[in-house]
Structure formats: C-alpha cells, structure tokens
C-alpha cells in the first residue's frame, strides 16, 4: 500500500447573474416616523448574507447608521419583485436596486431636513450617525429622527424610495453569435492537495489554497465564511455526494442522511484564502459577490489532483474509491504524474 500525494489546480471566471429577461431585482425603502429605514425585498437570505449586505448598502447610501436600517425579505406574495437567490446575483442585482431606492429616500430626507432648517437641500450632508447638517457648519443640524417626525406630522411627506435594477438585454449577433450576456465576472484560482491510497482508492483532501476576486468584499467576514463553507461543499460534491446507486444496485443507493455521504467535522481541510478586491464598475460599491463559485472550482481541482497523484482521470463525480481503484487497475498500477 502506498499513499500518493497529488496537487491539482483549477480556475474559474464566474458570470454574476444571468441575462434572461433582464434579471431584474426591485427594492422599496421607507422610513418609519422615528427615522428608521425599512428595506423591503423579495430576495431571499439563505444564510449567504443577503440581509446583512443590503442593510450595509442601504445605510451607506441613505447616510444613516447601519443599526437604523431593517431589511425585510419576508414574502414574494407581498414584497417587490425579485428573480431569486441564484447565479451569484444577490449582491450585484439586489444591491444595485437597493442603492437606487435608498438614493431616492435620501433625497426626500434631505428635502424634508432642508425645509426644517430653512436652507437649500444641496447644502446639506449626513454624518452617518443619525444627523443632517449644513455643509461646513455642523452645528446647524437636525437629527434624522426629527426630520422623519417633521415629514410625517408636519410636512405630510414620505421619506421613501423605489429601485429597480435591470440588465439591458443583449441580442446575439446573427453573424458571429457574439453576445454580452453578463456585465461582470468574478474570478478564482485554487490549488488542492490530496493523498490517494492506491490499495483502498480513498482520496483525502489535505489542503486548499485559494485566491478569490469578488469585487469589493462588502462584508469581508461574510465573504470568508461563504468561501470556507462553499469549498467544503465542493469537496463533498467531488468525493462523496451522489443520489446514484452505489453497489450493486439502486436499492443500495442513499436514502437519507445516514447513507448520503458528506464529510463531517472530522474531515476539515485547512483552507488558506486570499481575497483580492477589484471593484466592478456597475456593481454596488464595487461588490460582485462570491456566490456559487465558492464551490465550483474545487471539483475540477480535486479531479486534477487525483490525476496528479495516481494518474487516474475520473470524468464522473463523485470520485469514489471504486472509480479510483478501477482506474489504477486499468492503468496496471498507480502512475503518479509528479509535481506539475
């Protein structure tokens, strides 16, 4: 029995969102009479941080503390329309809609404050701490809460905004087939290290080193958490998960969490991540979002690492011990490819 070490590389250009029907997202923002802002979305937070990141985006755009913004992603029956949480589109599409809605709400807030302070709205600025003041004269100020109360009870005005983000449709050129289906790409490259046992066919991932370019990381800890969790899922898809039958027949296929294999806490792989920030022009504060590509490149990298370790090319996932052993046998033994 020999354990063969291998190393595999993969990289990815990941299109953010899709362009079927413009991939629209809508957001509505309004203030409550005490000067808090409510963002209504139908984009769903599955745990990827949709609520946190849209909250940051709204707070930054309106110019109020993040604590004073609430995001409600309650219900697609009653909320503004959204295409959904998929295709790594959340931060980009929904974030852009939130910026537009928040900018309109900010404009109304500044006009209401201007009326109270008897100045021109263009001369006002926010301090991000809940106050609006005359530029260059911070003492001439009014709180956001006072502004909202005045708007609600005196001026009869709402502090609200509507936003939609739509990608312009791109027709394919009939001559060349050329098209611009997406406006920005995120990128990643990663190296996976494995150990392959040539007697059992077992593959163990021992390390992942990755570099991700996700535009500006609007919430760096959330980005890191998604990258770590996504890579775990990539390893799981590469080596374990399938609903197809194992041996010898369909009845032996997995039916529940007992028999559907996934790596557990005992198989944690050290993952070193470098996040590179190259803000995209049409992205909210430059953030493209990590999304699906947290998991995708891990699979080819593992397959390449197995090839590098024992010379077996698996073109079906998951790369089970059976497939590795059959490959080794077909080759007449392990054929390590050495360090590429």
């Amino acid at each position: 029995m020999t354990i063969h070490k291998g190393r595999g590389f993969a990289c990815i250009n990941y299109p953010i969102g899709m362009n079927l029907g413009g991939d629209p997202a809508q957001a509505l923002v309004h203030s409550t009479p005490d000067g808090k802002f409510m963002v209504a979305l139908s984009a769903i937070d599955l745990g990827q941080g949709m609520k946190s990141v849209t909250r940051q985006i709204a707070a930054e755009t309106i110019g109020v503390p993040v604590e004073d913004v609430y995001v409600d992603t309650a219900d697609s029956d009653t909320g503004p329309h959204d295409m959904g949480s998929f295709a790594s589109r959340g931060t980009h599409r929904v974030g852009n809609a939130v910026i537009r809605a928040s900018a309109e709400a900010r404009k109304q807030m500044m006009e209401a404050a201007a009326e109270e302070l008897e100045v021109n709205a263009a001369d006002l600025d926010t301090d991000g701490k809940g106050n609006i003041h005359v530029k260059g004269a911070p003492s001439r100020s009014i709180t956001v809460a006072e502004t909202a109360i005045a708007a609600q009870f005196k001026q009869g005005r709402t502090l609200a905004g509507r936003g939609i983000f739509l990608i312009p449709p791109s027709e394919a050129n009939p001559e060349t087939g050329e098209q611009t289906p997406v406006t920005c790409f995120a990128h990643a490259a990663l190296v996976v290290e494995v150990e392959v046992d040539d007697e059992t066919g077992d593959v163990e991932v021992t390390a992942i080193n990755s570099a991700y370019e996700v535009g500006r990381a609007l919430n760096p800890k959330l980005v890191e958490q998604q990258l770590i969790g996504g890579a775990w899922m990539g390893v799981s898809h590469a080596l374990y998960e399938t609903t197809e039958p194992y041996y010898p027949a369909r009845d032996h296929g997995p039916e529940d969490f007992n028999t559907y294999l996934m790596p557990g806490p005992g198989q944690i792989v050290p993952h070193h991540i470098a996040v590179l920030e190259r803000p995209a022009e049409d992205a909210p504060f430059g953030g493209k979002g990590p999304g699906e590509m947290c998991a995708n490149p891990v699979l080819p990298a593992v397959a390449n690492a197995v090839y590098n370790a024992v010379g077996v090319r698996c073109d079906r996932l998951p790369i089970t011990p059976e497939k590795v052993l059959r490959g080794i046998r077909a080759n007449g033994g392990a054929r390590p490819k050495g360090r590429a």
Partner: protein
C-alpha cells in the same frame, strides 16, 4: 385517543401539557409549548438539529417519546441567554461567523453545551466528536469547531 398529562422543567420554568400518546418530544416542545428553538431537520435521528439536553445530556428530541421526560429537566437554546447576556457559546458562534442559514445552530449549541458542561477544556478532537452527530450544510464545520474552542477558553461552561 385520550391525552396524557405531562409535566417537566423547561429552562427553569415548569411546563404542564397534555400530549398525544406516542408524541415526540420535539412536537411537544414546538407545537405544545411553543419553544421553536429545537429544529426538525430529518425526524429520524440523523441530523442533530433537534438536539436538546435532558438532565444535562444531549438527546435527539425527534426520537424521544415525550412521555419519557415526565419530571425531568429539558434545556433548549431558548434558555441559553440570561436576559440580554448571550451564553459564551452563543457569543462565540456570533463572533466566529459560525452560522449561515442557522438551521443546525441550535442543535450545535446544545451538543456543545453538553460537552463544555462536563469537559470545560476540551481538545479539538473532543469537540469534533461532540458535534459529530450534528450535520451542517453551510459552514464546513471549521467555524463551529473554532467557536466552541474559543467559548471554552472564555469559560464557556456556565
């Protein structure tokens, strides 16, 4: 079918309910008592999301017959925080970004509380062993293991 009266302690409060014979503990907690912190992921004992403590030991509430907890003490995530003060484990999970969708979190917290209550300074392997009956689909487990170890360092048994 006649219902059975059942009394037990839930996070320092006394509970008295009528339960259907054969009802699972998670059903009684969630529907009978309204404690929604134990989550039902699989209802067959394989995911750990429904973990609660019975007399301090972790149990899968989906597989526990409610009638067997008569007179016993149940701890759920709902009782972890003392008012506004989060339990050290909750704090460590929050600071360590150890939840994404959060569906496993309640079970993870109870399984790790049981560990820290009996082993205040666990090794990494002991932590892994303690949560090995709890599935997480989002985090890759590492942030969870790290959070439990960091809670232990901060005196996580409380």
């Amino acid at each position: 079918m006649p219902k059975t009266p059942l009394t037990f302690t839930l996070n320092d409060g006394e509970v008295a309910v009528f339960v259907d014979p054969g009802a699972s503990l998670i059903d009684v907690l969630r529907r009978g008592v309204g404690d929604l912190t134990p989550k039902q992921g699989c209802a067959q004992g394989t995911c750990g999301a429904c973990t609660v403590l019975i007399d301090g030991k972790p149990h899968l509430s989906c597989l526990t017959l409610a009638e067997t907890v008569e007179g016993r003490r149940i701890d759920t995530t709902a009782g972890l925080a003392g008012g506004p003060n989060l339990h050290p484990l909750q704090k460590a999970f929050m600071e360590g970004f150890s939840a994404q969708c959060g569906f496993c979190t309640s079970g993870m917290l109870m399984a790790s509380k049981a560990l820290l209550d009996r082993t205040p300074n666990p090794t990494r392997d002991e932590v892994i062993e303690a949560i090995s009956g709890n599935l997480c689909r989002c985090t890759g487990y590492e942030p969870i293991v790290d959070a439990i170890l960091s809670a232990a360092q901060q005196g996580g048994a409380r």
